[in-house]
């Protein structure tokens, strides 16, 4: 106790400030590390694939597309790049959606999926595949994502009504989300019963989740969605952080908790709905990405929100690279691999932290 550093007294800077800055600095370093890992995984994802493009060809093709012959240019720019980028956008969107939902519902199992959003999207997609409806002004290839999006947004709207009616009670929201999940699941199963084998397989394929159908339009929509919503999330980092200290404390600080829950669920639903509607239900990223970020970065949402985006994107990007290399010549649906990549990452951190997080 007597050993107060003379330097600190001279600077008249509190040691708490120095320690706090050091902690924050360490976290920004971790964010930088995650970004580098993400770039590396993007590169792995780009060079993975059956076309026999060399790393050198890809690099020069990215810098100057004219150097590649047309066939390769199409593979790189119209297949690999959008697939690799949608992995980042969807992973990031699910990561942000998941972390905000977990914080605001104070539930480590909360994710866009426990709100029933993904199963509603599956329901919409199943309807599109089996009934093959015609919607005016919507081209046929866009009908499936449109209906999946409608399903997801409709279920979010119902969840929001529940938030309002229950005055923001988190228990109600979680229970209702789970009820929605089972309801949508049951209805979707009904569609599967009447589906022929081909349609049934299509539904299963969609429900597992895969990135290979994405093009630049999808990449743009999901990225824009993430970029537009992220600043709104960052504006509430202080309130989200203090909410981790408990609801009573937040309320005594004058935080309108029901209002906060509403806004967060609106944001999280939009993110999850757009992320899921193009690529299917890529489970797990929205649940585990945030937990990995929490274990690496702690609870300060200034670094936790960007960290969760990076972790979500990293898991999905690694899974995407793995999906093309695991079995030569076969693309394993990425939805299977997110769990394969995510669980070891998650477990190793969990054991390292001895279950404390």
């Amino acid at each position: 106790m007597e050993l107060i550093s003379p330097l600190i007294i001279m600077n008249n800077t509190s040691s708490l400030y120095v320690n706090f800055l050091r902690l924050n600095g360490r976290r920004y370093l971790i964010l930088a590390g995650l970004s580098i890992a993400l770039l590396a995984s993007l590169w792995l994802d780009l060079i993975a694939g059956p076309a026999g493009l060399s790393a050198g060809q890809i690099l020069s093709g990215l810098l100057d597309p004219e150097t590649l012959e047309l066939r390769y240019r199409i593979i790189l720019w119209d297949v690999r790049l959008p697939d690799a980028l949608i992995a980042l956008a969807v992973g990031g969107a699910l990561g942000l959606s998941g972390i905000e939902t977990q914080t605001v519902l104070d539930n480590p199992l909360a994710s866009p999926f426990t709100l029933g959003i993904s199963s509603a999207a599956v329901l919409g997609a199943s309807f599109a595949i089996i009934v093959e409806p015609v919607i005016p002004f919507v081209p046929s290839y866009a009908i499936l994502p449109t209906l999946a999006l409608c399903g997801a947004l409709a279920s979010s709207a119902i969840v929001l009504v529940v938030v309002r009616v229950s005055k923001g009670s988190r228990g109600m929201v979680v229970l209702f989300g789970i009820a929605m999940f089972f309801l949508c699941d049951a209805l979707a199963s009904g569609f599967h019963l009447i589906a022929d084998a081909d349609a049934a397989q299509q539904i299963v394929f969609w429900a597992i989740g895969n990135l290979t159908k994405a093009g630049w339009l999808e990449v743009t929509i999901v990225s824009l969605c993430l970029l537009l919503i992220f600043p709104f999330s960052m504006r509430q980092v202080w309130v989200l952080t203090l909410l981790r200290g408990g609801e009573d404390h937040a309320r005594s600080t004058g935080v309108n908790i029901a209002g906060l829950r509403t806004w967060v669920i609106v944001r999280a639903s939009i993110l999850a709905a757009f992320a899921v509607c193009f690529v299917g239900t890529i489970g797990f990223v929205g649940l585990v990405g945030p937990h990995i970020a929490r274990m690496l970065l702690g609870e300060d949402h200034r670094t936790l929100l960007p960290g969760s985006i990076l972790c979500g994107a990293l898991i999905l990007s690694l899974a995407s690279a793995l999906s093309k290399t695991l079995i030569p010549g076969v693309i394993v649906p990425v939805g299977i691999l997110t769990a394969v990549v995510g669980v070891p990452m998650f477990l190793s951190l969990l054991f390292k932290k001895k279950g404390q997080f």
Partner: protein, 260 residues
């Protein structure tokens, strides 16, 4: 700078919790003890004063009526330490203090804020835990963090809902003694809902005893804590005496059979 409470009534649904609560103006520099059995309306009255719950009647502080003041202005001068301590998460006390200060938009530079947090932590013996996860702290330490959070705003009216429930004897004394000194030095007001009558008698200048949503007695401890009042409110028979040091001592003899 006084606190006025008159004709305050509050409801949960149709059930009336507070019935026309009034007490004399509380002068600055007072530590007020709010006493009463469970479900007597203590916490509800605290919530009405803090602005968390809407109520009928008049609550005024520094001449400002709660119903005519914006929430922001009211929360700038009035701070509550809730009964539940901060949740045991991986959040650290410093992060919680920092995010609370920033959510409240306190006009402090980062350096000044750090110095302020440091001073509060020093006073409450929390310095060695400043960057420990809350989940590694005992319930008592977390309750002290709860007090620290209320103090970050330099409140002129500090509301403490059972501030000592999770604390051991030593910290109970330290906290109440410290709150009393702070109130006297800064000439502010603190209102604490308390269960411990001995502690209330020892540290508070004014006691407010309520039962079933109504005021039973208001005044200095020796006037409020009479065997009659205690029997009426808590249904126990007591003998009052003075310790060798001159502190009021309440010797509980036993429960009184219900008088129907």
């Amino acid at each position: 700078m006084v606190l006025k409470v008159s004709d305050v009534s509050a409801f949960y649904g149709k059930k009336q919790i507070l019935k026309d609560i009034s007490f004399p103006e509380i002068p600055q520099g007072s530590l007020v003890g709010l006493l009463g059995p469970n479900a007597s309306g203590k916490s509800t009255l605290m919530r009405c004063i803090s602005g968390e719950k809407k109520c009928q009647g008049t609550i005024e502080f520094k001449g400002q009526n709660i119903n005519e003041t914006s929430q922001k202005l009211w929360y700038d001068v009035v701070a509550t330490m809730p009964q539940t301590p901060p949740s045991p998460t991986a959040l650290t006390p410093t992060e919680l203090m920092w995010s609370t200060a920033r959510s409240l938009a306190l006009p402090l530079s980062d350096k000044d804020l750090a110095r302020k947090i440091e001073t509060i932590f020093d006073n409450l013996g929390l310095r060695s835990f400043e960057l420990s996860p809350l989940q590694s702290l005992s319930g008592g330490k977390r309750q002290l963090v709860g007090l620290a959070l209320a103090l970050i705003r330099d409140p002129e009216l500090l509301l403490l809902d059972e501030p000592t429930a999770a604390l051991d004897l030593q910290w109970r004394m330290i906290v109440l003694d410290w709150v009393k000194k702070r109130v006297e030095e800064t000439q502010t007001i603190a209102v604490a809902a308390l269960h411990d009558l001995d502690m209330a008698a020892r540290f508070c200048n004014i006691l407010v005893l309520i039962n079933e949503g109504e005021i039973v007695a208001v005044g200095p401890p020796e006037e409020v804590l009479t065997t009659g009042n205690i029997a009426h409110v808590y249904h126990v028979e007591t003998e009052l005496g003075l310790s060798q040091r001159g502190n009021l001592q309440i010797d509980v003899i036993g429960p009184i059979a219900s008088r129907g």
